[in-house]
């Protein structure tokens, strides 16, 4: 940087990213966002001001050194950029895709005060994809400790915690109830937003760190949390089982055939690959006229999956207005582009039976926004006499989840009023050595927040076990022919 960059000197427009044509992509499961090319990434990197006091780092739940990796991109040192990111985030290809950056790093970006903020998410993804393409792995030098860590759930919280504990020299085993690891990244987020190949690649990286994945293992029922400590020899346990238990609306007709949770739709489609039925055995009856209730990210996924499965009309019903929709703006925008109909300020009141136990229509009422409620958003209230019906053969509820009861049923862990696991500030539960984080503690949130919780719990576990990170150690000698400079050594030692 010869001259100091200012908001006036940088490219005023954000570098656009190629996306698949909405008409073409609405009929397939290819990834919508094609990602930056190398010249595009370098161009966008020139929009970063390298602020003396960057706000973006604080805006990131895992505090990635964002200006640091953008600087490396500008220098065309992409491997260096990868090393900077993986210093704090092991899954850049995932987070670059699914983080709600507009509310996090990009939301506080100084450039964003005047212009569109730096496309931090797209840059992160660029680096993550390049790492997968080139099989870069940052395998730190790990000094083994004698500790064994058991992790319950292989979703983002569990993966993040596993990565940190493996780097700290612990012997880590991750248990997953499904037959494939990845949690919500696998069963929930569809391929057009996060291809399964990316999840596979990130899991492989963890395996290279020595993390073991044990699928088909329902902790709580096959063995309990208490048994993990007392019999299976784990020195600490992290529970990241997710929220689970989908909410049904509790209106007449919500047990009719054709009414299902977004979790069921997405699991059948993504994990069980039911879109290839009958080539695979799991069925997924396609609705011709699909209605999705809710406007969060899960709702957007359900809408766009339904469109891709061949539904003629796909309608979103949400009781508040577009401004209050919890989904990422980009997701709503993509859904609109793909021809999803949005009925803002509408609420279903009854699902109507076709006489044979299946849904044929949903009756809704128009809403208007009243006084702000506890969440600070204006409370929607029904407009009397405004009922209307939408013809439909499939209604999908994407209105949130409640706490999954299994761990509560099978352990003595203290739960909070809503059934989530109670923890202290370090994410330790009421049982010594047992930590918890992610949706099972906070209720439904985002992938990166779950990863942040996994990392925070890892810090708590290290403190509990008396492990202390000593930071990177510069050594010139090559151990087993591996250059330490290239491989970002982190040395960890038991205190």
């Amino acid at each position: 940087m010869a001259k100091k960059r200012t908001v006036r000197s940088i490219p005023q427009e954000r570098t656009p990213v190629r996306e698949l044509d909405p008409v073409v992509r609405a009929a397939n499961f290819e990834e919508v966002n094609c990602g930056y090319t190398e010249p595009e990434a370098i161009l966008e990197s020139t929009r970063c001001l390298f602020c003396p006091e960057p706000k973006c780092i604080d805006g990131c739940p895992v505090n990635i050194d964002i200006p640091g990796f953008i600087l490396k991109i500008g220098e065309k040192d992409f491997r260096g950029a990868y090393d900077v990111i993986t210093g704090t985030n092991l899954l850049p290809a995932v987070c670059g895709r699914v983080c709600p950056q507009e509310n996090q790093c990009e939301g506080v970006c100084v450039v964003g005060e005047t212009l569109i903020p730096v496309a931090i998410g797209r840059l992160e993804r660029f680096v993550g994809d390049l790492a997968i393409k080139n099989s870069w792995v940052n395998r730190p030098y790990i000094e083994p400790t004698k500790f064994r860590i058991g992790i319950v759930g292989s979703g983002p919280a569990g993966m993040a915690c596993a990565a940190d504990m493996a780097k700290a020299g612990c012997d880590v085993t991750v248990y997953e109830a499904f037959h494939e690891p990845g949690g919500v990244l696998r069963y929930g987020i569809p391929d057009f937003r996060l291809p399964n190949s990316i999840v596979d690649a990130e899991i492989e990286k963890l395996e290279e760190l020595g993390v073991k994945f044990e699928c088909n293992t329902l902790v709580g029922r096959l063995f309990t949390i208490e048994q993990m400590i007392s019999e299976l020899g784990f020195h600490a346990v992290f529970i990241g089982t997710g929220a689970g238990y989908p909410t049904m609306l509790g209106i007449p007709g919500d047990s009719l055939n054709g009414v299902l949770s977004a979790n069921e739709l997405l699991t059948r489609c993504n994990l069980m690959k039911a879109r290839d039925f009958p080539n695979v055995d799991t069925p997924l009856p396609l609705g011709k006229h699909v209605v999705v209730v809710g406007a969060g990210n899960t709702a957007m996924d359900a809408l766009r999956v339904s469109k891709r499965l061949g539904a003629k009309t796909v309608t979103c019903i949400y009781r508040r207005s577009k401004a209050e929709a919890p989904a990422r703006a980009e997701e709503v925008h993509h859904a609109e582009q793909e021809g999803i109909d949005f009925h803002w300020l509408s609420n279903p009141v009854e699902i109507i039976d076709d006489g044979e136990g299946s849904v044929c229509a949903v009756r809704c009422v128009r809403m208007e926004l009243g006084e702000p409620d506890d969440s600070g958003r204006r409370r929607p209230v029904p407009v009397p006499g405004s009922e209307f019906e939408i013809e439909t053969d499939q209604v999908v509820f994407a209105i949130g989840t409640n706490a999954n009861p299994i761990i509560g049923q099978t352990s003595k862990l203290r739960l909070n009023k809503r059934g989530y696991i109670a923890t202290d500030d370090d994410l330790m539960t009421s049982m010594a050595g047992v930590f918890a984080g992610g949706d099972i503690v906070t209720g439904a949130a985002t992938v990166i927040e779950a990863m942040g919780a996994g990392r925070k719990a890892a810090r708590g576990i290290k403190a509990y076990l008396g492990i202390r990170d000593t930071g990177p150690i510069e050594r010139d000698e090559a151990i087993f022919g591996i250059s330490s400079r290239e491989h970002n050594f982190v040395r960890v030692r038991a205190a």
Binding site: A177, Y187, T217, L218, R221, P246, S261, G357
Partner: protein
């Protein structure tokens, strides 16, 4: 299905009760240790397979095995009947799932099993016998050829009533007739457990409703994950909606809305038919029809 003897979920024993019903004993020492009466597993027979819930019919902690009894009715179970041989392994086996049956301190109980339901009611009958209760078994089959486990039940029941639709074994009639016989003979029966097809469990609940004897049923709705995550298995129990996988599978039979359950079980009827026909066609083309089924 993979042939590898050191693999997980290895099938160590198989027994064919009839041309539709067969038993698999699967090696899983940890699950054998954890399993309790009333719990179920989710099975995936191969990587492209469905996840299907099956009630644990028995578990042997010393041998380190669990036992499943399966009826070949749809594509997945027909395929399992053909492919699941001793020495092969299941692709996936997760469990034990669900809340174990509550073993009440009832002194006199009736354990009712209809058809395939005979298998899952066995561990509960045995547990009651072990706890000192007077156990009356009522088993129902369409005919004598389908009958299985009579000896196992004789060994643990104080009384055993076999019912067949055509009278070819035991009394002629349904399990509800057996329940009525038992209730007439023993006015002090405190609890009935009924496991079988929904229509049978509904009839059992109706048979005991007049006397008000507590009647527990084990529900088998369609599931995907079995861990409370998809809600596909939701059932109406009284005024509330429950997920059979994590809130059950046992519920008070007098509270369950069986009509709703039966409608929901028809959800994938068309797809089930498509899959089954396609599979039969594949078998026919490969020349491996029903003769390949009669193994052992």
């Amino acid at each position: 299905m993979t042939d590898s003897s050191n693999q997980k979920f290895l099938i160590v024993r198989r027994e064919d009760f009839s041309d539709v019903t067969f038993l698999l004993e699967i090696s899983h020492p940890m699950m054998a240790r954890a399993a309790k009466p009333g719990q179920f597993v989710i099975v995936m027979s191969h990587a492209e397979g469905e996840r299907i819930p099956l009630t644990i019919a028995d578990f042997d902690r010393e041998r380190g095995t669990i036992t499943l009894v399966i009826q070949a009715v749809g594509k997945t179970t027909l395929e399992m009947q053909r492919n699941c041989q001793v020495g092969t392994a299941l692709y996936g086996l997760a469990g034990p799932m669900g809340i174990p049956s509550h073993l009440s301190d009832a002194k006199k109980v009736v354990c009712v099993g209809g058809g395939l339901g005979v298998a899952p009611v066995y561990p509960q009958a045995r547990a009651w016998k072990e706890s000192g209760a007077y156990v009356i078994g009522v088993l129902g089959f369409r005919n004598k050829d389908l009958l299985f486990w009579e000896d196992k039940f004789r060994a643990i029941c104080d009384e055993l009533i076999i019912c067949t639709d055509d009278g070819s074994a035991g009394i002629r009639g349904f399990v509800t007739d057996g329940i009525k016989l038992a209730l007439e003979k023993h006015p002090d029966i405190e609890e009935v457990v009924a496991i079988g097809p929904p229509v049978m469990m509904k009839a059992c609940a109706e048979a005991t409703r007049p006397s008000g004897v507590k009647t527990m049923v084990s529900l088998n709705p369609i599931m995907v994950d079995g861990t409370g995550m998809c809600g596909g298995c939701r059932v109406k129990v009284g005024e509330t909606v429950k997920f059979a996988c994590v809130d059950g599978p046992d519920f008070d039979g007098h509270q369950v809305d069986f009509d709703d359950l039966m409608i929901r079980l028809r959800r994938y009827k068309e797809e089930e038919q498509v899959a089954k026909e396609r599979w039969s066609e594949t078998c026919r083309m490969r020349g491996i029809g029903s003769e390949a089924v009669s193994v052992n």
